[in-house]
């Protein structure tokens, strides 16, 4: 009895928190199906906001830009980050500490400080804001997360693998690419996904260095910061919510299944 009551209380608390987390999102999705201009007003079912959204050239350009930027930055970050992880892993003492410290700067610093530092720097070196600056900045801020996801794979690796490659006649480069890299691929993939998502998400850093290149978060910020909010934003947000949730849930289910399989094996 007593135990049942306890479990009941625990479950209702968890349920309540779940409502707290998801109710706002659900409400937003619901209100994306009505075309009232004011927030929180229901003026009948309508898909007009979605029609408007897909006809909005600005949004579509921003979406394309965001995806291209995230892909390029995540690719570069994965390459740099994996190499950096291998390097840092084999460093000793003060070199390792220093390297870790450098990698931690962008992670622990406030994004706004990182953003303004980039802005000043690009101005000083006369690099005009735009695609190049965005790619540089997004790559630099996502590399540490790639390092974080590759590092655990490295420490699980048999330390003799690389030597075995060398002994069998492979050059260091060859040994690295034929022996070590294949072992790191799962870490690299999750690092890539992380970098991709973080880049898609970022607006604080981008805001200072985007020049005239618009991305989805920048579009959102500019629209939201203006007080009279454009109602098509509701449709855009709903679409983004559903897309992100679907991708994340699918990814988690796949990895959970894989984990189970490994356990069985």
């Amino acid at each position: 009895m007593n135990k049942n009551v306890k479990t009941g209380v625990v479950w209702s608390f968890v349920a309540l928190m779940l409502v707290f987390m998801y109710l706002p999102i659900i409400i937003l999705i619901v209100f994306s199906f009505t075309d009232a201009r004011a927030l929180g007003v229901w003026s009948g079912f309508s898909v007009e906001l979605y029609v408007d959204l897909f006809n909005n050239a600005q949004v579509m350009t921003a979406l394309g830009n965001s995806l291209i930027l995230a892909f390029v930055a995540a690719m570069l970050a994965t390459l740099l980050g994996t190499a950096a992880a291998v390097g840092i892993f084999h460093m000793r003492k003060w070199k390792k500490h220093t390297a870790n410290f450098v990698a931690n700067i962008t992670m622990e610093n406030a994004e706004i400080v990182t953003g303004v530092a980039f802005m000043i720097f690009f101005l000083v070196v006369r690099l005009p804001n735009g695609w190049i600056t965005l790619i540089i900045a997004h790559t630099m801020i996502t590399v540490p997360y790639v390092i974080l996801s590759v590092m655990p794979r490295l420490s699980q690796l048999n330390p003799n693998l690389y030597e075995a490659g060398l002994d069998l006649g492979a050059s260091p480069m060859r040994s690295m690419f034929t022996v070590i890299v294949p072992q790191l691929i799962p870490g690299m993939i999750s690092g890539f996904i992380m970098a991709f998502t973080l880049s898609l998400d970022d607006f604080i850093v981008s805001k200072f260095i985007n020049g005239n290149v618009s991305t989805i978060p920048i579009y959102l910020y500019n629209a939201l910061a203006k007080k009279g909010v454009d109602p098509t934003l509701r449709a855009l947000s709903a679409v983004l919510f559903v897309a992100v949730l679907a991708v994340l849930i699918a990814m988690n289910i796949v990895s959970a299944k894989r984990r189970k399989k490994q356990l069985v094996l």
Partner: protein
């Protein structure tokens, strides 16, 4: 096994060959980090020093000056906002903690701990753009009719912050609690402590590393955010991040903005340092974590 036998067999062929190889290996492998480290120096460290230079120079003459920092205390407006930001961040952090700790306890308890999907659902919103989440809260606030005036404006902003940063508090708490050796709480009860006494005497002290990183992930980001206040609040609810953002929006304010950024940077460095000290002490006595 066979590999390592092989290695020694071949390596024994000639000591010189072995030496050469070791040297080559030593240089080559740590060298893989150099491209990133070099880029970091150029694009991360140098910009911070340029920012520092800006913070100490006059925007017009370019001469060395402390004036940019004087702005911070003159009339106290900026320092007042920093104070308000710290207070708001404190309130947000405390609310997040009070909500997240029981939830993390519940999620890691035996009754629910196999519900992988449930844990996943709570962590997922972390990956949704914070602007979107803030917008969702804005709609809830307008349905609830929370006014944009007086004290209510703070309720709006704090609610947005709690909603935005909650998953960042939950995740470290959940991972430290679910990784905790269950026999420790059992040992406490076995020795006569009630579940509540066990919570305060064992579980809470042992989750300090998780609490510290949760606080770290909520507190400073709250101080430096500007979007939440822009979307949900007004000029009264400006965080320190808003001030920096404002100075950089005007072309003549970069030097002052740099000075304020520098102050924020110092604050962050201090909090990270304190956090490291707390957790370091803990991990030395508490090797299990």
């Amino acid at each position: 096994m066979n590999d390592s036998v092989n290695v020694t067999a071949v390596a024994d062929d000639g000591a010189r060959k072995k030496d050469v190889k070791r040297k080559m290996r030593g240089i080559k492998r740590s060298a893989f980090a150099f491209p990133y480290l070099a880029l970091s120096v150029i694009f991360v460290i140098v910009p911070l020093f340029i920012m520092l230079y800006y913070a100490f120079t006059d925007s017009v003459t370019g001469a060395f000056t402390f004036d940019n920092f004087k702005r911070f205390t003159d009339g106290w407006s900026a320092s007042l906002i920093l104070g308000k930001s710290l207070l708001a961040a404190l309130v947000t952090t405390v609310i997040c903690f009070l909500l997240a700790y029981p939830l993390a306890l519940a999620l890691s308890s035996t009754a629910l701990n196999k519900k992988f999907v449930l844990v996943m659902l709570f962590i997922l919103p972390m990956w949704i753009n914070s602007l979107l989440r803030t917008y969702a809260i804005k709609i809830v606030l307008s349905i609830l009719n929370v006014p944009e005036t007086g004290f209510a404006i703070w309720i709006r902003v704090i609610m947005g912050m709690v909603y935005d940063f909650f998953p960042f508090m939950l995740l470290p708490l959940y991972s430290v609690l679910s990784g905790m050796d269950r026999s420790l709480t059992e040992a406490s009860q076995d020795l006569g402590a009630s579940p509540v006494q066990t919570l305060f005497k064992v579980t809470l002290p042992l989750s300090v590393p998780g609490i510290v990183s949760g606080v770290l992930m909520v507190f400073m980001p709250t101080v430096s955010t500007f979007a939440i206040s822009d979307i949900l609040g007004n000029t009264d609810t400006y965080m320190f991040g808003n001030i920096i953002n404002q100075w950089f929006n005007s072309s003549s304010g970069w030097n002052i903005g740099s000075a304020y950024s520098f102050i924020l940077l110092i604050l962050i460095a201090v909090t990270v340092l304190i956090a490291n000290l707390i957790t370091k002490g803990k991990t030395e006595t508490g090797g299990i974590l």
